[in-house]
Amino acid sequence: MPRGGEVQRGGVQTGVRGMAQESEICAKIKGTMISQVFILTSKGDHLIFKDFRGEAGVDAINAFYESVTALSGDQPPVVMTHKDMHFIHVRQGGLYWVASTKTSASPFTIIEFLNRLTALTKDYCGTLCEKSVRANFALIYELLDEMVDYGYIQTTSTDILKNFIQTEAESSKPFSLFDLSNVGLFGADTQQSKVAPSAAATRPIMANRGEQGGKNEIFVDVIERLAMVIGSNGIIMKADIEGEIRVKCYLPNCSEMRIGLNEGLSIGKSQLRGYGSAVRVDECSFHQAVKLDEFDTYRIIKVCPSQGEQVIMQYQVCDDLPCPPPFRLFTSVERDSGNRLLLYLKLRCDLPPKSAAINVSISVPVPKGAISLSQELSSPDQRAELQPKNKAVLWEIPRFPGGSQLLALFKMEVPGLSSASLLEVGPVGMCFELPKHTCTGLQIRFLRLTPTQPGSSQRWVRYVTHSDSYTIRV
């Protein structure tokens, strides 16, 4: 620590003032300075507009909206410049969340700040959509006022902010017991009574005082996103998993939470694996607040969760999947005597028999100009349609149990079909959710809260795998 006298002003050069242009100096200032923050709907309606520095007027919003709507598909919209103002925006919940700056600020900082703003809005308002932002605009103004002063980020921690936020959230959808019925995480359709209702985690963190007495719940979600490319010969070309452990906490006072992961969890490529099927991740990183003193030996994470949602651990696995890929596709493309294209698809789900994939949709690119799809599907709950705009056939399967196999036959009329057109039946893309399943096998052994919460506290652990991008070449 420097003593009083040591912290001094260094040599100050004078006499240059007024020579250089104001804006030029402004651009040189170190530090991330946000000039304005605004939230627009996709139609351009202003929901929130907060000017921190008075450097530009309200017309900046219109300048932004005009340039963002004028972009063609290939131009990156994230950073745009109008006169001497840079606009950085993220799109979430169908809204534009925009920050403008005059400095050459750090893009990572501003993007992360906007992401944090959306996360806080979601924490405080329950959901992230136009309706909830409209209903809670006073609260969002209040949040912004505490988060940023004169364009400088002050704090974004829920724990600190909740001391200052006075406005009560208006939940756009009242929390009702009906929501508890049978909806799983992220709208998953499950009948399991043990699965927490998805709506439970979409209520504001600050429960209206007096109502329900603030339900004491904590949700720990293990969420994995799977990115795969499978070659036409069935060989896995690429398999990446991005995973995270996300905690959503409604407990007003929770001093410490201990999360136990699989004991056999190994980290890094070089580490020797234990007995065969140990769970492994390549890289992992933790939230700043996580204590890791028991992690190396017992694989226990200690964290003091603040109210709201936070990601406490992120991990990645590259190129080496511990389990077989969840789906295999066998295709055969034929051309019959006329202008008809025949597409046989056999899709196999290689999950363990107890689990199932839900909301599976398969998009098969077809030659341009294909018309009149006729289909043969194996069960009535499946659907398939030809989307001429996307040049694709979309096949949807609401529920697909592990270990089963589905067949489909699509016949299409393609005027002017040639053998080269078969090349257009390109890589097949799949979207799905795998509830109660992690591809890495990462599990939460236990979840302990200290001090032990009085009776009513509920702890939920949920697992889900999403398809980030699942491509199968044909």
Partner: protein, 737 residues
């Protein structure tokens, strides 16, 4: 709600706010205030309600207070006289026992952007700086900066500045960071906050207490600090080592930038830092937030320009996701092209091949262009794929493939035979003018090898009446004349018809004149025409541009983690001195050179301005190539030096010192030796080619020849550029001998 015009809304709100019944009902009153704010957000001018809102500010309801303050900050500059009425309440709040109320009042009072505010806020700020609640101190510190901005021309208050430097030792980390920010703004005309050794070490020691936003901010301020010696530098870096692996992208990026800039003289340290940050950087490229993904990709792309091998093994991370937005897919394809190597080329091409049939024509065309770029190195494989795509007979695909073919033939003459075979029969599915131009160019240049060339050309000539694009017509004229030179017997008749039509009936003057020119040239005889129309069929030397040397890390380190990397256009053209101060220190050899060059430059007689060159916005290879092909040579001069300078790297370093950027150069012993340079100066962009061509007999005495192209033209700048270039070369040859 019925639609109300602004005036009616304001009237209605005014009536409600002044209604005593409503005023007494707290909730209803607050609701009306919310409606005022809502109208304000929507862009209505509700400044007429200022008086009523001032009244509403005297309340114990904090929510209402906050809303009113928000209103007042917005309109204070419009109604300065009325705003003064609110100041009393605010000043009273500044002495409230509740720190939250004190902070709130002080913050908002400082936010009133109107002249004359200073005298009211000066005292509360000074009191606030000594407040026992850190919340108030945070606000007061930034208040100092706001106060300064209210009167930009006033003298800097030395007591406040000293107070702020003192508060750097405040126990609250946010107060400390706010001090840095406030000092930076107050002292901006003097170069910002001074980071001397004690302050730097103090900041480094406290880094651990800060939250990630503050960490990122402090790391940015530390960029200004120059460690005294290597020991200190390495101590600093080892302290920061852990932050390179931070899971918070802003901290990781700020740390990496600091590493790159501090370690400018130690390339090995820079490389090591990039290596360490590779994992986190790749993680941002797979982040759930698309925008963060994009930022990560842009930074990866920059790193690749210096270290192409860095991400080679991770190429699969850059395969496009099925549902990603187009702008991310474009970036990923650009990256894939750059990290192709012998091992992964097959798989990368297979992946790119899949994108060529994408539903978005722009994406498909970009994928085809990407394959074309890879084809400059791996021509055989790429030609197979591209030829296969022609079979699809889809307009946009064929057009892109033909354009790619044209570029490939120009750069890699060995692919000519395959291309000529492939383009036969693809003319039917070409509709857009770019594709037609490319095809016509190929027909004219290589018509000898395309058996049906005259027929294709004839069909174009027959369809001339319906052709809309004059550029296509110009290309058609050129192609027809060129083909005539190659295959006169088959082409003569149609060339005659074409010229006749264009001279007699064409309304576009450009086309008409070009046709007339061709006609008169043909009258001069075949030899003359051949001399004008038949240039080289390819320019493998342009390949230098693609097989470019690695960009030195120091050329972009200062741009790392800024918006420029994400494609923000540079607003303020950096004048040469700002560019110089931002440049990292060069190696000692470079410094010696710089001094030598400076000496040379200072010799010219008094009064002559030193050339105003600057590095300005960096030019991508594609942009350079485009400009180079578009512009014509404005100036060509033999410099009289024999042979390329001894070491190309030292040439590059020396040119960088005089603000000339080297884009690409060929290896030392090759002939012809070429280098491409560019610089910005006096509002123009200068592109230059240095050529040492000893193979041409009889011409060997000229030595190094410089050709300049310029946008827009400026003769003065050219003179200056040449003289600077000459000086640099002189210094280097002197050094070498």
């Amino acid at each position: 709600m019925p639609y109300l015009s602004t005036e009616e809304t304001v009237k209605e709100l005014k009536r409600a706010l002044s209604n005593p019944n409503i005023q007494s009902d707290r909730l209803r009153y607050r609701n009306y205030i919310m409606r005022v704010i809502r109208s304000m957000t929507q862009g209505l001018d509700v400044s007429a309600l200022f008086m009523d809102m001032v009244k509403a500010s005297a309340t114990v309801d904090i929510v209402q207070k906050k809303l009113v303050y928000l209103y007042m900050c917005t309109y204070a500059s419009l109604k300065p006289d009325l705003a003064l009425l609110a100041i009393n309440t605010l000043r009273k709040d500044c002495a409230d026992p509740n720190p939250m109320v004190r902070g709130l009042a002080l913050r908002n009072m400082c936010n009133f952007r109107m002249p004359g505010m200073t005298e009211y806020i000066h005292q509360p700020i000074l009191t606030g700086l000594k407040d026992k609640a850190s919340y108030v101190r945070r606000v007061a510190v930034l208040g100092c900066a706001k106060m300064q901005s209210l009167q930009p021309n006033a003298e800097i208050d030395a007591t406040i500045v000293n107070e702020l430097y003192g508060l750097l030792r405040d126990p609250d980390p946010v107060v400390m960071v706010n001090c840095l920010r406030a000092l930076e703004e107050i002292l901006k005309h003097e170069g910002g906050v001074v980071i001397n050794k004690p302050i730097a070490h103090h900041l480094l020691n406290r880094l651990k207490e800060l939250d990630s936003w503050a960490q990122g901010e402090v790391l940015t301020f530390l960029l200004r600090y120059k460690p005294r010696g290597e020991d200190e530098l390495f101590d600093m870096l080892s302290l920061l080592d852990g932050l390179l692996h931070s899971s918070h992208a802003p901290v990781m990026a700020a740390t990496l930038r600091l590493f790159l800039q501090l370690a400018a003289p130690h390339p090995a340290v820079q490389a090591d830092a990039l290596e360490q940050a590779r994992g986190p950087l790749l993680a941002t490229c797979g982040s759930q937030s698309r925008e963060l993904r994009f930022a990560g990709l842009c930074h990866v792309q920059q790193v690749l320009r210096s270290q192409p091998a860095q991400f080679g093994v991770h190429y699969k991370r850059f395969f496009c996701g099925y549902s990603e937005p187009a702008y991310i897919k474009f970036r990923k394809m650009e990256i894939l092209v750059e990290l192709v190597n012998d091992e992964n080329v097959g798989l990368v091409l297979e992946e790119l091949r899949g994108y060529c049939t994408d539903v978005s024509p722009e994406l498909a065309q970009a994928a085809i262009a990407a394959i074309g770029r890879i084809g400059r190195t791996y021509s055989e494989k790429c030609l197979d794929i591209l030829t296969g795509l022609l079979g699809l007979k889809q307009e946009h695909i064929t057009s892109a493939v033909v354009q790619t073919f044209r570029d490939l033939v120009w750069l890699c003459p060995q692919s000519t035979a395959t291309v000529c075979q492939a383009v036969e029969g693809c003319e039917e599915s070409l509709q857009d003018s770019e594709g037609k131009q490319a095809l016509l160019w190929l027909l004219g240049m290589h018509g000898g090898q395309i058996s049906n060339a005259p027929y294709v050309l004839e069909s174009h000539i027959d369809g001339l009446k319906t052709e809309m694009s004059s550029v296509v017509k110009l290309e058609l004229l050129t192609a027809a004349v060129r083909l005539f030179l190659l295959r006169p017997a088959e082409t003569q008749d149609m060339l005659g018809r074409l010229l006749h039509y264009c001279i007699e009936e064409e309304s576009d003057m450009n086309v008409h004149d070009r046709a007339l020119f061709c006609y008169r040239l043909l009258e001069c005889g075949l030899e003359e025409t051949r001399r004008v129309f038949q240039g080289p069929k390819s320019d493998p030397c342009m390949g230098v541009l693609t097989g470019c040397p690695q960009e030195p890390i120091n050329s972009w380190a200062s741009k790392f983690n800024t918006l420029w990397l994400l494609g923000a256009s540079e607003v303020v053209p950096a004048s040469s001195d700002t560019a110089a101060s931002d440049q990292p220190a060069h190696s000692s050899q470079g410094d010696a050179l710089a001094e030598a060059v400076d000496e040379q430059l200072s010799i010219p007689e008094e009064g002559q301005q030193s050339p105003d060159l600057s590095l300005g916005a960096p030019l991508s290879h594609e942009a350079f190539e485009r400009h180079w092909l578009e512009l014509c040579v404005t100036h060509r001069e033999a410099l009289g030096f024999q042979g390329p300078p001894s070491a190309s790297e030292s040439l590059q370093a020396a040119l960088q010192l005089v603000k000339i950027q080297t884009l690409a150069f060929s290896r030392e012993s090759t002939t012809p030796w070429k280098a491409y340079l560019y610089t910005h100066g006096s509002g123009t962009l200068i592109l230059a080619e240095l050529l040492q061509d000893e193979s041409e007999a009889g011409n060997s005495s000229t030595g190094l020849v410089v050709s300049l192209k310029q946008l827009p033209e400026n003769k003065m700048a050219i003179q200056e550029f040449v003289s600077v270039l000459r000086t640099v070369l002189q210094t280097l040859t002197k050094d070498g001998s």
